[in-house]
Symmetry: C2
Protein backbone atom coordinates (compact mmCIF):
# COMPACT_ATOMS: atom_id res chain seq x y z
CA UNK A 1 0.00 0.00 0.00
CA UNK A 2 1.32 3.10 -1.11
CA UNK A 3 1.44 6.29 0.77
CA UNK A 4 -0.03 7.18 4.05
CA UNK A 5 -1.06 10.35 2.35
CA UNK A 6 -3.74 11.22 -0.14
CA UNK A 7 -2.45 10.64 -3.61
CA UNK A 8 -5.38 11.92 -5.52
CA UNK A 9 -3.65 11.54 -8.82
CA UNK A 10 -1.62 8.91 -10.59
CA UNK A 11 1.06 9.82 -13.08
CA UNK A 12 3.24 7.94 -15.48
CA UNK A 13 5.96 10.52 -15.23
CA UNK A 14 8.57 8.97 -13.02
CA UNK A 15 12.21 8.05 -12.74
CA UNK A 16 12.29 6.99 -16.37
CA UNK A 17 12.19 10.59 -17.55
CA UNK A 18 15.15 11.02 -19.87
CA UNK A 19 15.32 14.75 -19.29
CA UNK A 20 15.54 14.25 -15.54
CA UNK A 21 18.33 11.72 -16.00
CA UNK A 22 20.24 13.72 -18.57
CA UNK A 23 20.06 16.83 -16.43
CA UNK A 24 21.11 14.93 -13.33
CA UNK A 25 24.09 13.47 -15.12
CA UNK A 26 25.00 16.87 -16.50
CA UNK A 27 24.91 18.48 -13.07
CA UNK A 28 26.87 15.71 -11.40
CA UNK A 29 29.54 15.53 -14.07
CA UNK A 30 29.85 19.28 -14.41
CA UNK A 31 30.38 19.64 -10.70
CA UNK A 32 33.32 17.24 -10.84
CA UNK A 33 35.04 19.21 -13.56
CA UNK A 34 34.24 22.55 -12.00
CA UNK A 35 35.66 21.36 -8.71
CA UNK A 36 38.91 20.25 -10.30
CA UNK A 37 39.15 23.39 -12.40
CA UNK A 38 38.23 25.82 -9.63
CA UNK A 39 41.84 26.63 -8.65
CA UNK A 40 42.37 27.76 -12.24
CA UNK A 41 39.48 30.16 -12.28
CA UNK A 42 37.58 28.54 -15.12
CA UNK A 43 34.57 26.31 -15.40
CA UNK A 44 34.06 23.46 -17.79
CA UNK A 45 31.39 25.39 -19.69
CA UNK A 46 33.89 28.02 -20.72
CA UNK A 47 36.77 25.61 -21.14
CA UNK A 48 34.74 23.70 -23.71
CA UNK A 49 34.27 26.80 -25.79
CA UNK A 50 37.96 27.59 -25.54
CA UNK A 51 38.89 24.11 -26.68
CA UNK A 52 36.46 24.19 -29.56
CA UNK A 53 37.85 27.54 -30.56
CA UNK A 54 41.33 26.07 -30.45
CA UNK A 55 40.28 23.32 -32.83
CA UNK A 56 38.46 25.71 -35.13
CA UNK A 57 41.21 28.30 -35.27
CA UNK A 58 38.77 30.97 -36.30
CA UNK A 59 35.39 30.39 -34.70
CA UNK A 60 32.19 31.85 -36.04
CA UNK A 61 29.45 32.18 -33.41
CA UNK A 62 26.88 30.48 -35.63
CA UNK A 63 29.13 27.46 -36.06
CA UNK A 64 29.77 27.17 -32.35
CA UNK A 65 26.06 27.40 -31.71
CA UNK A 66 25.28 24.55 -34.02
CA UNK A 67 28.10 22.33 -32.81
CA UNK A 68 27.29 22.78 -29.15
CA UNK A 69 23.54 23.12 -29.45
CA UNK A 70 23.69 26.49 -27.79
CA UNK A 71 21.51 29.47 -28.45
CA UNK A 72 23.21 32.33 -30.26
CA UNK A 73 22.55 34.64 -27.36
CA UNK A 74 24.25 32.21 -25.00
CA UNK A 75 27.36 32.06 -27.12
CA UNK A 76 27.33 35.80 -27.56
CA UNK A 77 27.46 36.38 -23.83
CA UNK A 78 29.85 33.55 -23.02
CA UNK A 79 32.27 34.87 -25.60
CA UNK A 80 31.88 38.36 -24.21
CA UNK A 81 32.81 37.14 -20.72
CA UNK A 82 35.86 35.32 -21.99
CA UNK A 83 36.82 38.28 -24.12
CA UNK A 84 36.68 40.40 -20.99
CA UNK A 85 39.07 37.97 -19.36
CA UNK A 86 41.40 38.24 -22.30
CA UNK A 87 41.08 34.63 -23.41
CA UNK A 88 39.40 35.34 -26.73
CA UNK A 89 39.60 38.13 -29.24
CA UNK A 90 37.34 39.11 -32.06
CA UNK A 91 38.89 38.88 -35.49
CA UNK A 92 38.18 42.02 -37.45
CA UNK A 93 36.21 41.14 -40.51
CA UNK A 94 33.91 42.93 -42.86
CA UNK A 95 30.21 42.51 -42.37
CA UNK A 96 28.03 41.37 -39.56
CA UNK A 97 30.18 38.40 -38.65
CA UNK A 98 32.12 38.51 -35.39
CA UNK A 99 34.47 35.57 -35.64
CA UNK A 100 36.81 35.11 -32.72
CA UNK A 101 39.95 33.19 -31.83
CA UNK A 102 42.11 32.30 -28.88
CA UNK A 103 44.56 34.78 -27.46
CA UNK A 104 47.87 33.69 -26.03
CA UNK A 105 46.30 33.92 -22.59
CA UNK A 106 43.48 31.66 -23.78
CA UNK A 107 46.00 29.09 -24.96
CA UNK A 108 47.69 29.24 -21.60
CA UNK A 109 44.42 28.53 -19.85
CA UNK A 110 43.89 25.38 -21.88
CA UNK A 111 47.44 24.30 -21.29
CA UNK A 112 47.25 24.83 -17.56
CA UNK A 113 43.85 23.17 -17.31
CA UNK A 114 44.98 19.84 -18.68
CA UNK A 115 45.92 18.07 -15.45
CA UNK A 116 42.70 19.12 -13.76
CA UNK A 117 40.69 18.09 -16.79
CA UNK A 118 42.30 14.66 -16.83
CA UNK A 119 41.63 14.14 -13.15
CA UNK A 120 38.03 15.13 -13.66
CA UNK A 121 37.65 12.91 -16.69
CA UNK A 122 38.78 9.93 -14.64
CA UNK A 123 36.47 10.74 -11.78
CA UNK A 124 33.61 11.13 -14.21
CA UNK A 125 34.31 7.76 -15.79
CA UNK A 126 34.21 6.18 -12.35
CA UNK A 127 30.97 7.87 -11.50
CA UNK A 128 29.14 7.15 -14.72
CA UNK A 129 30.24 3.57 -15.21
CA UNK A 130 31.30 1.81 -18.38
CA UNK A 131 27.93 1.62 -20.09
CA UNK A 132 27.23 5.30 -19.92
CA UNK A 133 30.78 6.26 -20.80
CA UNK A 134 30.68 3.98 -23.81
CA UNK A 135 27.31 5.28 -24.92
CA UNK A 136 28.46 8.87 -24.55
CA UNK A 137 31.69 8.14 -26.37
CA UNK A 138 30.00 7.12 -29.57
CA UNK A 139 29.27 9.85 -32.04
CA UNK A 140 26.03 11.26 -30.82
CA UNK A 141 24.06 10.87 -34.02
CA UNK A 142 22.14 13.99 -34.89
CA UNK A 143 23.58 15.61 -31.84
CA UNK A 144 27.06 15.99 -33.18
CA UNK A 145 26.41 18.31 -36.06
CA UNK A 146 30.13 18.57 -36.21
CA UNK A 147 31.39 16.39 -33.41
CA UNK A 148 33.06 13.97 -35.76
CA UNK A 149 34.69 16.25 -38.24
CA UNK A 150 37.70 17.34 -36.42
Amino acid sequence: MAETKANTIDTQIDGSCLAAKARLVSRAVSSIYDEELRPLGIKVSQLNILVLTYHLGIARPAVVCEMLHLDTSTVSRNVERMRAKGWLEVVPEAGRAQPFRLTRAGEDVIKKAEPAWKAAQERAQQLLGDDLVQALSKPLGELCAGGSQR
Copy 2:
Protein backbone atom coordinates in the same frame (compact mmCIF):
# COMPACT_ATOMS: atom_id res chain seq x y z
CA MET B 1 57.70 22.80 -36.62
CA ALA B 2 54.40 21.66 -37.49
CA GLU B 3 51.92 24.41 -37.86
CA THR B 4 52.29 27.33 -40.14
CA LYS B 5 49.56 28.88 -38.19
CA ALA B 6 49.61 29.91 -34.61
CA ASN B 7 48.77 26.65 -32.93
CA THR B 8 51.39 27.11 -30.35
CA ILE B 9 49.84 24.57 -28.09
CA ASP B 10 48.65 21.02 -28.30
CA THR B 11 45.94 19.80 -26.00
CA GLN B 12 44.50 16.47 -25.12
CA ILE B 13 41.18 18.00 -24.25
CA ASP B 14 38.91 17.19 -27.15
CA GLY B 15 35.63 15.66 -28.13
CA SER B 16 36.06 12.92 -25.56
CA CYS B 17 35.29 15.29 -22.71
CA LEU B 18 32.48 13.71 -20.73
CA ALA B 19 31.33 17.01 -19.35
CA ALA B 20 30.97 18.46 -22.82
CA LYS B 21 28.98 15.44 -23.93
CA ALA B 22 26.81 15.29 -20.85
CA ARG B 23 26.03 18.97 -21.08
CA LEU B 24 25.29 18.73 -24.78
CA VAL B 25 22.90 15.86 -24.20
CA SER B 26 21.25 17.71 -21.37
CA ARG B 27 20.66 20.80 -23.45
CA ALA B 28 19.38 18.88 -26.45
CA VAL B 29 17.04 16.69 -24.44
CA SER B 30 15.80 19.50 -22.25
CA SER B 31 14.91 21.57 -25.28
CA ILE B 32 12.72 18.76 -26.60
CA TYR B 33 10.75 18.55 -23.36
CA ASP B 34 10.55 22.29 -22.94
CA GLU B 35 9.23 22.64 -26.46
CA GLU B 36 6.50 20.08 -25.89
CA LEU B 37 5.64 21.50 -22.50
CA ARG B 38 5.66 25.16 -23.58
CA PRO B 39 1.92 25.39 -24.22
CA LEU B 40 1.39 24.32 -20.62
CA GLY B 41 3.56 27.03 -19.15
CA ILE B 42 6.04 24.75 -17.42
CA LYS B 43 9.53 23.56 -18.13
CA VAL B 44 10.93 20.13 -17.50
CA SER B 45 13.15 21.43 -14.71
CA GLN B 46 10.15 22.44 -12.65
CA LEU B 47 8.03 19.49 -13.71
CA ASN B 48 10.68 17.15 -12.35
CA ILE B 49 10.49 18.75 -8.96
CA LEU B 50 6.71 18.57 -9.01
CA VAL B 51 6.81 14.88 -9.87
CA LEU B 52 9.37 14.13 -7.19
CA THR B 53 7.23 16.00 -4.71
CA TYR B 54 4.28 13.92 -5.78
CA HIS B 55 6.20 10.73 -5.07
CA LEU B 56 7.51 12.01 -1.75
CA GLY B 57 4.21 13.34 -0.49
CA ILE B 58 5.94 15.65 1.91
CA ALA B 59 9.22 16.89 0.46
CA ARG B 60 12.05 18.24 2.54
CA PRO B 61 14.37 20.57 0.64
CA ALA B 62 17.47 18.76 1.83
CA VAL B 63 16.12 15.44 0.55
CA VAL B 64 15.26 16.91 -2.83
CA CYS B 65 18.73 18.39 -3.04
CA GLU B 66 20.39 15.09 -2.45
CA MET B 67 18.16 13.12 -4.78
CA LEU B 68 18.49 15.55 -7.66
CA HIS B 69 22.06 16.67 -6.99
CA LEU B 70 20.91 20.25 -6.71
CA ASP B 71 22.31 22.94 -4.50
CA THR B 72 20.07 23.93 -1.61
CA SER B 73 19.88 27.48 -2.90
CA THR B 74 18.69 26.23 -6.27
CA VAL B 75 15.90 24.22 -4.72
CA SER B 76 15.02 27.09 -2.45
CA ARG B 77 14.43 29.40 -5.38
CA ASN B 78 12.78 26.88 -7.65
CA VAL B 79 10.33 26.04 -4.91
CA GLU B 80 9.70 29.71 -4.32
CA ARG B 81 8.82 30.22 -7.97
CA MET B 82 6.45 27.27 -7.99
CA ARG B 83 4.93 28.38 -4.72
CA ALA B 84 4.27 31.75 -6.32
CA LYS B 85 2.45 29.94 -9.11
CA GLY B 86 0.37 28.05 -6.58
CA TRP B 87 1.71 24.62 -7.44
CA LEU B 88 3.42 23.95 -4.12
CA GLU B 89 2.70 24.90 -0.54
CA VAL B 90 4.89 24.87 2.52
CA VAL B 91 3.80 22.54 5.29
CA PRO B 92 3.99 24.25 8.65
CA GLU B 93 6.42 22.45 10.90
CA ALA B 94 8.44 23.28 13.94
CA GLY B 95 12.05 24.22 13.50
CA ARG B 96 14.06 25.43 10.58
CA ALA B 97 12.61 22.85 8.22
CA GLN B 98 10.39 24.07 5.39
CA PRO B 99 8.87 20.91 3.95
CA PHE B 100 6.48 21.40 1.06
CA ARG B 101 3.88 19.46 -0.88
CA LEU B 102 1.79 19.65 -4.01
CA THR B 103 -1.32 21.75 -4.12
CA ARG B 104 -4.35 20.71 -6.12
CA ALA B 105 -3.18 23.07 -8.85
CA GLY B 106 0.19 21.34 -8.78
CA GLU B 107 -1.45 17.98 -9.24
CA ASP B 108 -3.39 19.35 -12.18
CA VAL B 109 -0.20 20.53 -13.82
CA ILE B 110 1.29 17.05 -13.66
CA LYS B 111 -1.89 15.52 -14.95
CA LYS B 112 -2.17 17.90 -17.86
CA ALA B 113 1.52 17.56 -18.71
CA GLU B 114 1.39 13.84 -19.32
CA PRO B 115 0.70 13.81 -23.07
CA ALA B 116 3.39 16.38 -23.75
CA TRP B 117 5.83 14.50 -21.55
CA LYS B 118 5.16 11.25 -23.39
CA ALA B 119 5.66 12.88 -26.76
CA ALA B 120 8.92 14.37 -25.57
CA GLN B 121 10.06 11.09 -24.09
CA GLU B 122 9.60 9.40 -27.46
CA ARG B 123 11.40 12.13 -29.33
CA ALA B 124 14.24 11.96 -26.84
CA GLN B 125 14.54 8.20 -27.28
CA GLN B 126 14.80 8.69 -31.01
CA LEU B 127 17.43 11.36 -30.65
CA LEU B 128 19.61 9.59 -28.13
CA GLY B 129 19.48 6.12 -29.61
CA ASP B 130 19.18 2.80 -27.88
CA ASP B 131 22.59 2.62 -26.28
CA LEU B 132 22.32 5.91 -24.49
CA VAL B 133 18.71 5.34 -23.49
CA GLN B 134 19.61 1.94 -22.09
CA ALA B 135 22.59 3.30 -20.23
CA LEU B 136 20.55 6.13 -18.78
CA SER B 137 17.76 3.76 -17.82
CA LYS B 138 19.89 1.73 -15.47
CA PRO B 139 20.05 2.91 -11.91
CA LEU B 140 22.74 5.53 -12.01
CA GLY B 141 24.96 4.07 -9.33
CA GLU B 142 26.14 6.66 -6.86
CA LEU B 143 24.14 9.21 -8.71
CA CYS B 144 20.82 8.01 -7.48
CA ALA B 145 21.47 8.65 -3.83
CA GLY B 146 17.82 8.02 -3.35
CA GLY B 147 16.56 6.93 -6.70
CA SER B 148 15.78 3.54 -5.30
CA GLN B 149 15.12 4.09 -1.62
CA ARG B 150 11.69 5.55 -1.50
